[in-house]
Symmetry: C2
Subunit: 248 residues, 2 copies
């Protein structure tokens, strides 16, 4: 399929068929993913491949038991990694200065660009993927399960497998809600209404509001899905863990 | 071209031909980019399109005068954006709790996945792109030039245009340097040597070491390109700016 059509028609896949993903296919897709842009050619990332059922069962609760973790043939944890690079510096009579937040940010960007390049490559060969945002929430425990050393921080996870079916594509905001020409064009209340109107009127979203006993769709996000309490709790864990891994 | 081959053969493009990028093409590519995976369907990003020459000249020094900024027909600044979402919450009788580091991280992830999906879409229609890592270094001044409000933080920039020529593809580490099966397999000194040997022996990299008057390639990174002093300086600015934009 044409790449533009592939990207345009993509969707997140959470349910996988029994069809296995061969080691050969996975390695080829990772090789292609590692062609993603990377800061200064440094490739500040590592990918942990989980295929073992017991390992998936250890990871599962850390991803809030989303069924996709245990059911996917392959789970990939993408990590910001300065461990390899620092060890290279130390083996090369060079004094690294990467124990800081800017360096962590650089490695996090590298890891995310690779994850998305992998996602596209996987979809191109008929696989489906699902990102797990829970990776940063429970980063310390995930690092523990995967035995990540200092200077390595998991930033996102992809579950990967062949789709059992093709779900409906989900909605997106109108593109003019997101594009700003030359200067950021801040939103009036009317603009906000225009941006979110279509989303709010979707039958699936109206049902979502009703099922959660809420008045508005936004309340489902603030009161149920992404609450202040959870965000503040996970902020502390995440910030502390980044520092504990050596990025002060 | 087949998507896998497109991804495998991609390279960063820093020099652009005179061929213009039409508004129509740009909008289509952005629409396709906005199909990238996004946390909870929230689309926590904005894209600022810079075409105006004066605006490029204002951005140029903030990207350390990399010539690609002024010469590219289009410059895209990808921002983590909670402003639109919070305004929607406030207009919907919902109380947002997104003024924290975990929420910033979520929006940053969203913005980076979109940037990479845009990069792939652009390459699929024959355009070339270059990421500018300087975006997070000078985020406060970039935000000032683009008039980014509170809750909006620039996380990366892509310069975009038709390539004037196709540069050589740059090297990558052997894939087994990056892939870990089940558990992180930490690197011995011998492993590090195996990972970086090929890179160090490349004539371009040997010349790079010589031109910089260094003993090893790693020293070019630690002493010239990404120094402790710069990293610590930009860490403070970046961390403070994230907080100042409302993510405490």
């Amino acid at each position: 399929m044409d790449t533009i059509e592939l990207l345009r028609n993509r969707r997140t896949i959470r349910k996988y068929s029994e069809q296995p993903v061969s080691d050969e296919m996975l390695r080829e897709l990772l090789e292609v993913a590692f062609r993603a842009p990377t800061t200064g050619g440094m490739q500040l990332y590592s990918v942990i491949v989980t295929r073992n059922h017991e390992m998936k069962q250890k990871l599962s609760p850390l991803h809030f038991n989303q069924p996709t973790v245990v059911s996917a043939p392959v789970v990939l944890t993408f990590c910001a990694d300065y461990n390899r690079f620092v060890k290279w510096c130390e083996a090369s009579n060079a004094t690294p200065g990467y124990d800081n937040f800017a360096s962590f940010t650089t490695a996090m960007i590298d890891a995310l660009l690779v994850a998305q390049q992998f996602n596209t490559a996987a979809e191109a060969v008929g696989l489906g993927c699902c990102y797990l945002g829970t990776t940063t929430y429970n980063a310390p425990q995930i690092a523990d399960v995967l035995q990540l050393p200092r200077r390595v921080v998991p930033v996102t996870t992809l579950t990967v497998g062949f789709p059992v079916d093709m779900p409906q594509q989900v909605e997106r905001l109108p593109i003019d809600a997101i594009i700003h020409n030359e200067l950021y064009n801040d939103y009036s209340v009317e603009d906000i209404h225009r941006c979110y109107e279509e989303k709010e009127l979707l039958p699936t979203n109206k049902r979502f509001v009703e099922e959660n006993g809420k008045e508005t769709l936004a309340q489902v996000f603030t009161d149920v899905r992404y609450t202040r309490k959870d965000n503040e709790y996970f902020s502390r864990i995440w910030r502390d863990f980044i520092a504990a891994q050596g990025f002060e």
